[in-house]
C-alpha cells in the first residue's frame, strides 16, 4: 500500500470514482510515485473482475497468457488498440444487423446486452438511443477512417465520469460549472452519440444552464449511420446503385444536406458567431470549439471589422489540436484572446477512450490525474522508463472504467515529464503542449509500389468532419 506522505489525505483503492469528491486540488498535491501502489491495487482488482466478465478481454488474457496482475508490466500486454472498438464487420452496419452488432458490443462490456429489446430498430442512431435507454452510454468516433468505433461506457460510470469532466474543467478554467452556469457557444453539431458531442450534451449543457443556453452552429448532428456508411454510400453512388443499399430515404436526404452544409461551413460559422456577438454583447459567455474554428472566426472577423465585446469573466474552453488547419498564427492563443477580448483560455487534454480529462496549468502543461495510469512506448513498442522526460506513444489505464476494460493504447505521441517540477505547483506527471499523431512513416514518402494497399480516401467524411469535433 502507498507510503502516503500527506498526513491528512490518502487515496483509497476502494473507490477511485470518489477521489475527486473534495476537488482536484488535493490530488495535485500528491506525487504519483506515492500513489502508484494504490493505482496498481485498483488495476489488479479491475483485472480480476473484468478478465472473466468482458469476453474480448478474456480472450486477450488467454492469448497473452496473463494469469494475474501484480505489477504494471503484467498488464501491458492487455492494452486494447483502437481497432478493438471497431472490430465488427462493417457489413453489420450496412445491413443493420442489430442482433449481431449487439452481440459484438456485448463482448466488450460486463452488462448483459442480450437482455435488451431490439424490436423495431431501423437505424444505428436508434440502436444507440436504445442502448442509452438500457443504461449504456455508448459514444462513437468521427469515422474519418470510414468505420466508427464504439466505446462501451455505461450508466455505472456516469457519476465518476461527470466528476472527472467537471473537475478538469474547473482546474483548467477556474470556473465551477456546477455552481456557475454560463451561456455557451459551440460552433458545431448538436447532440447525438459522437463521443465528444455526447460529452457536451451530458456535461456542458447543464453547465450552460440548460439546452436553451447552449448555442450550437447546427440544430442537429450527423447521424451515426451516415458517418459510418459514408464510404459505402459514396462507392454505391459512383456505381449508380445508392438505392440498392436499401437505406432510409431520410438518411439519403440527410446526407445531401450534410454535404451542402459542409461546403458552406466556413460562412456558417462566421455568420453564426457574428450574430451571437450582437446578441450577447456585454454579456458573460463561454466559447467552445476547436482552435481552428476560433482562428478562422477571428481572421474573418478582423477582416470584416467585427469585434466581439463580452463581459468580464467570459472564457474560452478549447481543445482538439490543429488537425487539418494549416498556417495557424504562431501565437494562436494570444491571437484568439486578443480578438475575442477574453483573457481566460482553459484547455484540457483527453481522449475519447479515457474518461478523465487532464487540465492545462498556468505553465501550459497538462497534468495527469491519478485515475489515469500513463505509459509511454517507443516505436518498437518497448516501454519507456517512467522517469525524467520521455517522448513516445501514450497508453493509459483508465481506472474509472468499471464495466469495460480501461487499458488503451492511443495514437498520440506526447512528451511526459515524470519529475513533477512544474512551476505551477501542481504535481502528477505532465504532458507537454506538443501533441502529435504517432506516425509509422519513416523517410522518403515517395516509396512507390504497384500494389494497391493504401487506405481508401473518403471525400465525404473529409467534408463533413472537417474540424467539427475534436475526436
Amino acid at each position: 500500500m502507498a507510503d502516503v506522505s500527506q498526513e491528512t489525505f490518502a487515496l483509497s483503492p476502494e473507490q477511485p470514482g470518489n477521489w475527486l469528491d473534495d476537488g482536484y486540488e488535493r490530488l495535485f498535491q500528491l506525487s504519483w510515485r506515492d500513489y502508484q501502489d494504490v493505482q496498481l491495487a485498483v488495476l489488479k482488482r479491475r483485472f480480476e473482475e473484468l478478465s472473466t466478465s468482458v469476453a474480448a478481454l478474456e480472450k486477450l488474457v488467454k492469448r497473452e497468457g496473463v494469469t494475474s496482475v501484480n505489477s504494471f508490466e503484467d498488464a501491458l500486454p492487455l492494452l486494447f488498440d483502437h481497432r478493438v472498438y471497431k472490430s465488427y464487420p462493417l457489413s453489420l452496419i450496412e445491413k443493420r444487423d442489430f442482433p449481431k452488432l449487439t452481440g459484438w458490443l456485448n463482448r466488450l462490456t460486463t452488462h448483459d446486452l442480450g437482455a435488451m429489446d431490439l424490436a423495431g430498430l431501423t437505424t444505428i442512431e436508434e440502436w444507440l438511443d436504445r442502448l442509452d435507454a438500457f443504461g449504456m452510454l455508448i459514444g462513437h468516433s468521427t469515422g474519418t477512417t470510414g468505420k466508427l468505433s464504439f466505446l462501451p461506457r455505461s450508466g455505472t460510470e456516469r457519476r465518476s465520469w461527470q466528476m472527472a469532466y467537471q473537475e478538469a474543467s474547473r482546474a483548467a478554467t477556474g470556473i465551477d460549472s456546477r455552481s456557475d452556469t454560463v451561456e455557451t457557444f459551440f460552433p458545431g453539431y448538436r447532440g447525438g452519440h459522437h463521443m465528444m458531442l455526447k460529452m457536451l450534451w451530458l456535461f456542458d449543457v447543464p453547465a450552460a444552464g440548460g439546452p436553451e443556453h447552449f448555442h450550437t452552429l447546427y440544430p442537429t448532428h450527423v447521424p451515426a449511420d451516415l458517418s459510418s456508411l459514408a464510404g459505402r454510400m459514396q462507392s454505391a453512388e459512383d456505381r449508380g446503385e445508392l438505392a440498392k443499399l436499401g437505406l432510409d430515404p431520410a438518411l439519403l436526404k440527410a446526407r445531401e444536406e450534410m454535404i451542402a452544409q459542409a461546403k458552406r461551413r466556413d460562412q456558417d460559422v462566421e455568420a453564426w458567431f457574428f450574430k451571437l456577438f450582437e446578441q450577447f454583447r456585454g454579456k458573460r459567455v463561454k466559447i467552445g470549439g476547436t482552435f481552428s474554428d476560433l482562428i478562422r472566426t477571428a481572421r474573418s472577423g478582423i477582416e470584416k471589422g467585427l469585434k466581439p465585446e463580452f463581459a468580464p469573466g467570459s472564457f474560452i474552453s478549447t481543445g482538439g489540436g490543429m488537425k487539418g488547419f494549416k498556417d495557424a498564427p504562431e501565437d494562436w492563443e494570444g491571437y484568439i484572446k486578443d480578438y475575442f477580448g477574453i483573457e481566460k483560455l482553459g484547455m484540457v487534454y483527453g481522449m475519447s477512450e479515457g474518461m478523465p480529462n487532464h487540465p492545462r496549468c498556468s505553465q501550459k502543461n497538462f497534468h495527469i490525474l491519478p485515475q489515469t495510469i500513463p505509459f509511454l512506448f517507443d516505436r518498437d513498442m518497448k516501454l519507456l522508463p517512467r522517469e525524467g522526460v520521455q517522448t513516445g506513444r501514450l497508453a493509459i489505464f483508465d481506472l474509472l472504467a468499471e464495466t469495460y476494460w480501461g487499458g488503451f493504447i492511443s495514437g498520440d505521441q506526447v512528451t511526459i515529464d515524470w519529475e513533477e517540477n512544474c512551476g505551477c505547483g501542481w504535481k502528477g506527471p505532465t504532458v507537454g503542449p506538443v501533441i502529435s499523431r504517432f506516425a509509422e512513416m519513416e523517410g522518403g514518402d515517395d516509396k512507390i509500389s504497384c500494389a494497391g494497399t493504401a487506405q481508401a480516401y473518403n471525400d465525404f467524411m473529409d467534408f463533413v468532419s472537417q474540424g467539427l469535433a475534436p475526436s
Binding site: A56, K59, L60, R63, D81, R83, V84, K86, S87, Y88, P89, L90, S91, K100, G103, W104, R107, G146, K147, M381, E440, E442, G443, G444, D445, D446, K447, I448, S449, C450, A451, G452, T453, A454, Q455, A456, Y457
Partner: protein, 491 residues
Amino acid sequence: MTNTYRIPIIARGRIIEPGEDVVEYQGRGGATFLTPDPHKHVHDLVLGNPVLLQDLQQTPTRDIIDFLAEAGKRLHIDDNPYLQESFALALRAGGLAEPILRGVYEDLPLLFDPDAMFAQIDSTIGVDYLDGWVPSPTGPHCRVRAVGTRQLHITAGNVPVVAALTIVRGALTKSDILIKSPSNDPLTANAIMRTLLELDAGHPVCKHIAVAYWKGGDEFMDSQIVRTSRIDKITAWGGMSSVKHIQKFLTPGIDLTALNPKFSMSVIGKEALESEAAMDEAATGLAVIAGFYNQTACVNTRLVYVESETDDASLDKLAELGRKVVAAFQRLPETLSTPAKAANADLEAELEAVALEDDFYTVEGNTVTGGVVVSRFPDRVDFYDQLNNRVVNIVPVADLLDVVKWCDDTTQTVGIYPERLRDHLLDAFALAGVQRLVPLQGGDPMQIYRDIHAMPPGMPHDGIEPLRRNVRWVIDHRPLTEAVPLSIAAE
C-alpha cells in the same frame, strides 16, 4: 554497413556525380542519398528538342536489340559492381528479403534476351512500323509510322524489375526517357544505365536515357519537367499521391498512363473443400500466388473468395484451408518467399483485434510467418487494403459470380482453382474490371510460379498496351496518285 549512397544523375550518355551542388535525401532504412541537385540539372534531364531523337529513330531495331542484348550479358550481379551496390541498397530500402531480391536480380538478364525483346516489340508495335513508314494495305497512299516520344517514367520500386523493364521498353520504342527513381529502389535503373554506358556511351540508346532521383511531389521538378515542350508521355506507377502530384501539371498534349496500384485476388471452387488432396493443391496454389516476392507485388493475391456456405462445418473446412495455406507459405522455396523481416505493426494490430471476435473471424498465423483471416460470413475484412506480409483474407461466398461486386479497375490478377470455374467467370470478371486470370493448379510451387508468369512476349499490361501507347502514330498521307507500291515501302 554503408549509410551514405552516392547517386549520380545519368544524363543521356553522361554521368554527373554529386559534386559542389550535392544535395542530401533521407532515404528508407536509415540510408542517406547524395545526388547532384536535380533543380540545377533540369536541362540535362529533359530533351527540349524532339527532333534530336533522329539518331535513335534512324537506328534499326535490330541494332538496338543487339546493343541491349550485349548489355544484358553484363548484368550479372556476381561480377557487376554497380548492381552489387544497387542490390545492397534495394535490400535495405525495399521490402524484399535477400534470397528473393537476389532471385529478381539474377533474372534481370532475361529481360534483355534478344529473341524475347524482338518478339515483344514486333507483336505489340511491329518492327516495320518503328523502322520505316508502312503503307496501309487498303489505301497505300497513306503510310503509318510509330515514332518515338519523350517520356517521363515515375517508376515503382517494390520490385526492381520495373527499372529494367522501363529501360528496355524505352529503347525498343526508340523513345527518349527520363526515369524518376523511387526511394525504395533508388539505384537499380542507375546501375543498369552505368553498365550500358560502359559498353558504349555514344550509342543512340544511351543518348536518350536519363535517370535521376528527386523527392516525389517536388513541385519545382514537376513544373519544370511536365511541360508539353519537354515531355509527350508520362508513365506513373504506383500510389495515388504520385499520380495526383503530376496531375496538377498535366495539360492536353501530355498523355498519362497511370499504372495505378492494383489489388489482386483468387477464387476457389467448392472442390477444394471436398478432399484432402484438392485442399492441399489449392492451398499450395494460394500460397504461391499470395506469397511470391513476399506479397509486395500487384499480382499477389490478398483476398481469396471460396465457394462455400457459412454453416459451422463449412467454416471449419475454410479454417482448415487457411491453416494449410499458412503451412504452405513455410514450404515455399526461399527464392520465392520468406518469412517477413519484421512484423507489420498496423496489420498485426488489425489481426489481433479481429482475433478477439470469434463470431466473425478466425485468424491463423501472423505478419511474420504469414497468416490467414477467415471471414465467417460473406464479406471481406474492412482492412482488406492493408493485407501484406503474406496475410490473406478467405471469404466464403455461395456463388462466385457474386465476387464481381468486389471487382473493379484495381483488380489486376485473379488466381483460379479449379479450372472448371474459368469459363463460368471469365466474361463477367472481364467486364467488371479484372485484367488477367491465371491458373493455380498442380501443387508444385515452382511450377505454379512459372505457370503464373509464362506469357508470350508483348501481352497487355494492366489492361492496356503501354508500348503502343507510348509511341506516336504518325500518318504520311500522300496524293492518291502518288501511292507508293507496297514492295518499295516495305524495304
